[in-house]
């Protein structure tokens, strides 16, 4: 690969913690949970009653900022991506489309979109059958947020159009690994010389009726009666499943000399990336974390940083029984001989699981840890699972020199991705 360094020059976020990076980071360091009682009017009887939702005020702010897209697309995932993308470009000093952007690209991890039951019920016959003929004649009645209107590539292609990004445009759909895979694709596109800059990250929102039952059906969502803010508890003995979040996290990945030439502020460097597959089960990670271990090891090899050079791991840390244990085993196998061992924390304990978008905000937090030598805690870790016996930075943020860090994302089905961030 060409000897080009890739640096991070901009970050943008939209999460339950807020719409500004600084605000998100401040709350994350304080361990403020973004999880609250669900605010979806129709979901009163849903088994899922907690989620890390972007506030209604913040949603209105986003819609006001992108009125035509809010009108035409309507769905939250794409609007979150536009907001975070705009913020990341602005943070990188690229807020105005003035320069030639033919070598600027976009890479997004995005979820499957919104399946709406009304897309069936509206076209039922008297005999309670779906009438595809009538449906075909009334496509203008399809809800604007429906997957029929907004497929997975909508966030990346809309960002390209909105921000004039005329280079490579990549959408990755690999469940919870999507955003980190997109960041990795962006890193490699810049490193290989395919682009000078890529706006990359992920966005998702499944806080809609079908989305709410999605993980209930799979048995992987937390449905306990615990207070919402205590429900997401990665690595804790009382963890009972993932807690959905929503939002977006975007970063500007830029070739070093390009960034220096325009005087950009540099947060950190992307030092390596890898992806692997468990090839084990569709419904569960490998119990010994084989795929995750290989992924972290290969990412380290790509970065040429030894395990002892890693001070922090932003874990996938879903708060599910299977993932947290498999990830812990995998980390032990890679970093077991390190003294001191890397600190580990789970952003999902604070902002919930952004699903396909999860790697986006988690990458941003990882970058900030490297840049500022501060690590946000894993909250709600009050009774550690004896099998999860690593240093997860429980409940209180920590100051520690972070020379380099990993961000892990492991997806449903067995796709794994790890990205390495190094101090610049």
């Amino acid at each position: 690969m060409a000897d080009r360094k890739v640096v991070i020059t901009g970050l943008g976020l939209a999460t339950a913690l807020g719409l500004e990076v600084e605000q998100n980071w401040r709350k994350a360091l304080k361990g403020v949970s973004g999880v609250s009682r669900i605010r979806l009017e129709c979901a009163g009887k849903s088994a899922v009653q907690a989620a890390a939702q972007v506030s209604d005020d913040d949603w209105r702010t986003i819609c006001d900022d992108f009125p035509s897209e809010a009108e035409s697309e309507g769905e939250r995932r794409t609007l979150f991506a536009l907001w975070a993308g705009k913020k990341a470009l602005s943070d990188a000093g690229l807020g105005r489309v003035a320069e030639d952007r033919s070598r600027f690209g976009a890479a997004m991890g995005a979820g499957l979109g919104v399946n709406r039951l009304e897309d069936i019920s509206r076209w039922l016959t008297a005999g309670k059958k779906f009438d595809p003929v009538r449906f075909a004649g009334e496509l203008d009645l399809v809800e604007r947020e429906s997957i029929i209107r907004n497929n997975s590539s909508a966030p990346a292609t809309l960002m390209a159009a909105k921000f004039g990004l005329k280079g490579p445009n990549i959408t990755i759909t690999s469940a919870c690994a999507s955003a980190t895979l997109a960041l990795g694709a962006a890193y490699r596109a810049v490193k290989r010389g395919e682009a000078d800059l890529v706006l990359a990250g992920g966005a998702d929102s499944m806080i809609n009726p079908v989305g709410l039952v999605f993980f209930v059906l799979l048995g992987s969502v937390a449905v306990s009666k615990m207070e919402p803010e205590h429900l997401c508890r990665p690595f804790d003995r009382k963890r009972s499943g993932l807690v959905m979040g929503e939002g977006a996290g975007m970063a500007v990945l830029e070739e070093e000399s390009h960034a220096l030439a325009r005087g950009a502020r540099i947060y950190a460097e992307v030092a390596g990336f890898a992806s692997t597959m468990d090839a084990w089960r569709l419904t569960a990670p490998h119990p010994e974390g084989n795929g995750a271990e290989a992924c972290m090891s290969l990412a380290l090899a790509d970065s040429k940083i030894p395990p002892e050079g890693i001070d922090y791991i932003n874990a996938h840390g879903t708060s599910t029984k299977l993932n947290d244990l498999a990830e812990t085993i995998a980390i032990k196998r890679v970093f077991g001989n390190c003294a001191p061992p890397p600190a580990i924390s789970s952003s999902k304990s604070i902002i919930g699981h952004l699903l396909a978008g999860s790697g986006g905000p988690e990458f941003a937090f990882t970058v900030l840890s490297v840049a500022q030598n501060r690590i946000h805690p894993t909250i709600n870790l009050s009774s550690p699972d004896p099998k999860c016996d690593l240093d997860y930075v429980p409940n209180v943020a920590r100051e520690r020199v972070v020379r380099a860090a990993l961000s892990n994302s492991f997806g449903f089905g067995g796709q794994n991705s790890t990205i390495v961030v190094r101090k610049y």
Partner: protein, 414 residues
């Protein structure tokens, strides 16, 4: 090959060989069947079966009689995953067999896997029982009913089938693929991206073999609706003029570093020569702009170290006029412009599968074949007897603006 062209410069160390091809589409369930159908001038377009598509007023090129592929996926989940799973599995299987790769040929971690995957739409019958259990007296959805009872009518693994990486992950389990990977989505440019990433990881030494391919969407009411809303297919027309239509397909290439392929005695069917990617919507917002498409083609030519005169065959990735105009813009100054083929007229718009299917077809067409006149542009009264395919440009275009171009060198390039 055109007169005056130098033979290709392989085998340089960083070149990537294509050693296996697999494909399924409306023309056939294997690459040889597809080539036979294509060279006969057949079109796979026909009346849509499986549901009443009369309201859409369009044909489609569906894959019918696809042989069942045995996996350990629970039967009901396999039904939910539908053709997405079977199109992928069948094309991977054919490609690996063709490349003489068995489970012991490479270690699992050295096997990369990249695919462009079209969107997955639910089958209405998967959710209909839940909808019916959730209706109020007015026939609207009552979400209290849905959350209390309705959702229980949904098959518990249904959500997995909705993730368009799950068929991909099942293929990784079935074929023992543990290495570098990526699922790109959902249009033609995603198929080109999959081949590009596979080629790159091989050049960079991150894998010793990589599968790269694409899978279309399954023809369904939802998929047809999305295509119509996006402008990929037009409204019902009373004219007899040919109109764009959707197709179903899966296609896969086996890629290896040239040296590895030679070392293990693999048949080399072609080589990867170059790529280009851009993104820009046309002014009317319905497709990629002509400028974006021509820029992607020029970038691929530059990456391959070629001028337009080095291309023998262009395989279009769409039905759109912007693409044809961009091809003319790049190639018309050449004294011997390439032959232009629109396979979409035979197999339909097959999304991420399209460019990979075109690549497989280009590499599998016999050197002395006569290309069917009805799929040439401009249409000819006769085929192209004696034409030998050397270097091929394959485009993958998204209606949302993404453009990917790749150049392959066939066995006749030298």
């Amino acid at each position: 090959m055109k007169a005056g062209l130098k033979p290709p410069s392989y085998p340089p160390a960083d070149r990537v060989a294509i050693t296996g091809l697999g494909a399924v589409c409306s023309l056939g369930n294997s690459v040889p069947e597809i080539i036979q159908g294509f060279l006969s001038g057949n079109s796979g377009a026909g009346e849509i079966t499986g549901f009443d598509a009369g309201g859409f007023g369009c044909p489609a090129a569906q894959v019918k009689n696809l042989p069942a592929f045995k996996t350990d996926v629970p039967p009901q989940l396999a039904i939910t995953m539908g053709k997405h799973l079977s199109l992928l599995m069948a094309s991977v299987d054919e490609a690996l067999r063709g490349a003489s790769i068995d489970p012991g040929t490479f270690s699992p971690g050295d096997r990369g896997f990249f695919a462009g995957m079209g969107m997955v739409d639910y089958h209405v019958e998967d959710l209909l029982p839940a909808v019916l259990k959730s209706l109020n007296r007015d026939g609207d959805i009552d979400y209290d009913k849905f959350f209390l009872q309705g959702y229980r009518e949904i098959y518990p693994l249904w959500p997995l089938g909705m993730l368009n990486n799950v068929a991909f992950c099942q293929a990784s389990i079935h074929f023992g693929l543990h290495g570098e990977n990526g699922v790109f989505c959902p249009h033609g440019d995603a198929g080109v991206r999959a081949v590009f990433e596979a080629a790159c990881v091989l050049k960079e030494g991150r894998a010793k073999m990589a599968l790269a391919g694409g899978v279309s969407e399954e023809i369904s009411p939802l998929g047809l609706a999305r295509a119509r809303i996006k402008g990929l297919i037009g409204p019902p027309s009373e004219t007899s003029a040919p109109a764009p239509f959707l197709g179903e397909a899966g296609a896969m290439l086996v890629l290896e570093p040239f040296s590895t392929a030679v070392e293990r005695g693999a048949s080399i069917l072609g080589q990867i020569a170059g790529f280009g990617f851009t993104c820009e919507k046309s002014e009317d917002g319905r497709f990629a702009s002509r400028q974006a498409i021509s820029s992607a083609i020029r970038a691929a030519l530059s990456d391959a170290g070629l001028t337009p005169g080095g291309i023998d065959l262009v395989m279009l990735g769409s039905f759109d006029k912007n693409e044809l105009e961009a091809v003319h813009e790049v190639f018309d100054a050449d004294v011997s412009p390439p032959v232009i083929v629109a396979t979409a007229g035979a197999v339909g718009e097959t999304y991420a599968a399209g460019p990979v299917l075109n690549a497989a077809m280009a590499l599998a067409i016999p050197g002395d074949a006569e290309l069917p006149p009805n799929f040439l542009l401009p249409a000819r009264s006769t085929g192209s007897a004696g034409f030998k395919i050397g270097r091929v440009l394959v485009n993958g275009i998204s209606c949302e603006g993404g453009c990917g171009s790749m150049i392959l060198e066939g066995a006749n390039a030298g």
